[in-house]
């Protein structure tokens, strides 16, 4: 079993309370940072650790912090992104439910590094239970002198608040989140300016994912070098993976970056293989927005190397034969699942969640949903398949925020790798209503590059 930096104590009874968390070494990172380090030294440590944003984009956290503007007399804000609405992702909710003080501790360390004296944790509104849990944890930490004025005599003040959203996936996008936190509709802003220059209340702002902020705790406790020893290349440290779908043991796993995908799926330490003795058909490895891959390509790269759980290995082959680590939302599909239906389901989701500001996204997602619906229900034409590819290309790269891309990629990749299944829905509409296409040839030995559908 790999090392656990975030979830090590998750099964300790009472770990959600301040007392037990503290007994297990909690809030040492706050003591170390506030008493022995300068804010810049904390930023430097996080930079050195190689930590990359765990919310999906994988941007180096320390570097993001160093971009924060620091004009005199202007407050700076740290906003924690707990919107967690990307289908397939449920690690942040898990972490906050079971070990809320880890996030609070990370918020204190990170706010200190950034010089933020008021910080907000934005949670999607559906997470009311977690909002209650965090508010209790904040009260306990404050009571113990870790929040409020002059924390541990360091001169550093911090107030921490939890803010609910109202049900909108788009509010996970950082500028939409800021709008929402200002009490407005969640319409993403046009960048630049970036939040680091002008974010919340037009002040310099850093937005970080729950897991990224939690990861600063072991980085400060053990040092950046220890953290960076775990992992491979530019994928350092541990990552929480949310595993769902047709698995024997779905759930949240903390992995050392770099373990083989095959081990993650089949080992009893992790997902324990495919449920009900079925075979694996496909995987969405990083949340619904990343390209879906057939079983053969998720286990091995196009060159036949073992696919590893790292940013680089999952992306190996580009979109022709690779995917992305994304948020770590790992969804496994068994041989009984219908790719057309799943693609339609995701399209419906993106159409529903489009904020409607840009026409390629607003219209394109609606169009894709409609066409996929008719394919799934046996009224499609063969030309619909190319139409979908065409629409997805018109959305991609032509929108204010990445939700457009996130809607386009699942469709484009499903057709790229499972075109025969889409065609079968057109040529066998009746049969397609009665049964699923099944495994077909997706789990066959690795196809040669020239046998793959060309990148569109």
């Amino acid at each position: 079993m790999g090392r656990k930096l975030l979830l090590e104590h998750i099964n300790v009874p009472g770990i959600n309370s301040f007392e037990v968390y503290r007994q297990k070494g909690g809030y040492r990172a706050v003591e170390k940072a506030l008493k022995t380090l300068t804010p810049d030294e904390v930023v430097e440590e996080v930079k050195k650790s190689g930590l990359r944003g765990r919310g999906g984009a994988g941007f180096p956290t320390g570097m993001k912090w160093s971009f924060l503007a620091k004009p005199d007399g202007v407050p700076r804000y740290l906003v924690c992104n707990g919107d967690e609405s990307e289908p397939g992702t449920f690690k942040d909710r898990y972490l906050m439910t079971h070990i809320p003080h880890l996030l609070i501790e990370g918020m204190i360390v990170s706010s200190f590094a950034l010089g933020a004296n008021t910080s907000y944790i934005y949670l999607r509104g559906e997470m009311m239970p977690q909002i209650r849990i965090l508010e209790k944890a904040i009260a306990e930490a404050k009571n113990a002198g870790f929040l409020g004025k002059n924390i541990l005599g360091s001169g550093f003040d911090l107030e921490l608040y939890v803010q609910p959203g109202g049900g909108a996936y788009i509010c996970g996008e950082e500028t939409a989140l800021i709008e929402s936190l200002e009490g407005k509709r969640g319409n993403p802003r046009i960048k630049p300016p970036f939040p680091a220059i002008s974010g919340l209340y037009n002040c310099p702002t850093v937005v970080n994912n729950v897991e990224s902020i939690a990861a600063t705790v072991p980085i400060i406790n053990d040092g950046a070098d220890e953290y960076a020893k775990i992992g491979i290349g530019r994928s350092t440290g541990t990552k929480l993976i949310s595993a769902s779908g047709n698995l024997n043991r779905p759930g949240v796993y903390e992995i050392e970056l770099g373990i083989p995908v095959e081990e993650f799926i089949y080992s009893d330490q992790y997902c324990g293989g495919i449920a009900n003795g079925k075979r694996l058909k496909a995987v969405v490895a990083g949340g619904s927005s990343v390209p879906i891959l057939p079983a053969n390509l998720i286990l091995k790269t196009i060159n036949g190397d073992n696919r590893l759980m790292t940013y680089e290995s999952l992306a190996d082959g580009g979109f022709a034969s690779g995917t992305m680590l994304g948020s770590g939302g790992f969804v496994a599909y068994d041989e009984d699942q219908c790719i057309v239906r799943n693609t339609w389901n995701f399209s419906r989701f993106y159409h529903h969640e489009s904020c409607g500001q840009c026409s390629p996204c607003r219209e394109g997602t609606g169009w894709m949903e409609k066409v996929l619906h008719r394919l799934e229900y046996g009224h499609g034409k063969l030309s619909d398949i190319d139409l979908l590819v065409d629409v997805s290309k018109k959305i991609e790269g032509n929108t204010i925020c990445p939700l457009g891309d996130a809607a386009a990629w699942p469709v484009a990749s499903a057709i790229r790798h499972f075109r025969d299944e889409f065609e079968w829905h057109v040529t066998h509409p009746k049969e397609a209503m009665e049964r699923n296409y099944g495994l077909a040839n997706y789990a066959d030995p690795l196809p040669k590059p020239e046998d793959l559908h060309p990148v569109n």
């Binding site: 407050p75 967690e84 609405s85 990307e86 289908p87 397939g88 992702t89 449920f90 942040d92 909710r93 439910t97 008021t118 999607r124 509104g125 559906e126 997470m127 009311m128 239970p129 849990i133 107030e159 608040y161 803010q163 609910p164 959203g165 109202g166 049900g167 909108a168 996936y169 929402s180 936190l181 200002e182 009490g183 407005k184 509709r185 969640g186 209340y201 949310s242 595993a243 769902s244 779908g245 047709n246 779905p250 759930g251 949240v252 969405v284 619904s288 939302g329 969804v331 599909y333 699942q337 239906r341 799943n342 389901n345 995701f346 989701f349 529903h352 969640e353």
Partner: protein
């Protein structure tokens, strides 16, 4: 939970108003609009939905134009703009839940309650709807019920029976956290 109709006046209780004030104090001077979503949640928890009269009162309280409140209340899916059942079963219908039985669960609820998505049962107790990924995909299928938004995970037909029966009897135990 109080129940109000769409023409009924809304008078926020002193307890509610003091909660509003605490929320407003979390933001810098002049940024009280940030309190809008938390306050709308409190209003919905109190009355079961947000009526236009309630929205106008919130606008008054926060010194906003009423349109600023309507805009927000209509954008976010959690806010109910018409009365619902006392218990709204919100079932996740997105991909990862869908492939392990979410549709079957929704059908089962529809048959059991004898109302379509969005409609209210005759006794006023229940309504249900499909919602998007609730960040519980590994415990699918899943639903939650406001106003405290408790999660009910790894749903089966038997669990739905038990849940609905216990809500009918109002003896629902404080369920598992998370």
């Amino acid at each position: 939970m109080l129940k109000i109709s769409d023409t009924e006046d809304v008078i926020f209780s002193p307890e509610l108003l003091s909660k509003f004030a605490e929320i407003v104090s979390r933001y810098p001077e002049g940024r009280q609009k940030s309190a809008l979503l938390p306050i709308l949640h409190l209003v919905q928890a109190q009355y079961g939905w947000v009526s236009s009269i309630a929205m106008d009162k919130v606008a008054d309280y926060l010194e906003l134009k009423p349109i600023e409140v309507y805009e927000v209340a209509t954008f976010y899916t959690m806010f109910f703009l018409k009365p619902q059942g006392k218990y709204v079963l919100e079932v996740c219908r997105t991909g990862p839940c869908s492939i392990v039985g979410a549709e079957r669960i929704m059908k089962y609820i529809e048959n059991k309650l004898q109302v379509k998505e969005g409609e209210v049962t005759e006794d006023g107790l229940f309504s249900w709807r499909g919602v998007e990924c609730l960040a519980a995909c590994g415990m699918a299928p899943v639903l939650q019920i406001g106003p405290d938004y408790t999660y009910y995970e790894n749903l089966t037909e038997a669990k739905i029976d038990e849940l609905i029966d216990s809500l009918r009897l109002k003896t629902v135990d404080k369920p598992q956290i998370n």
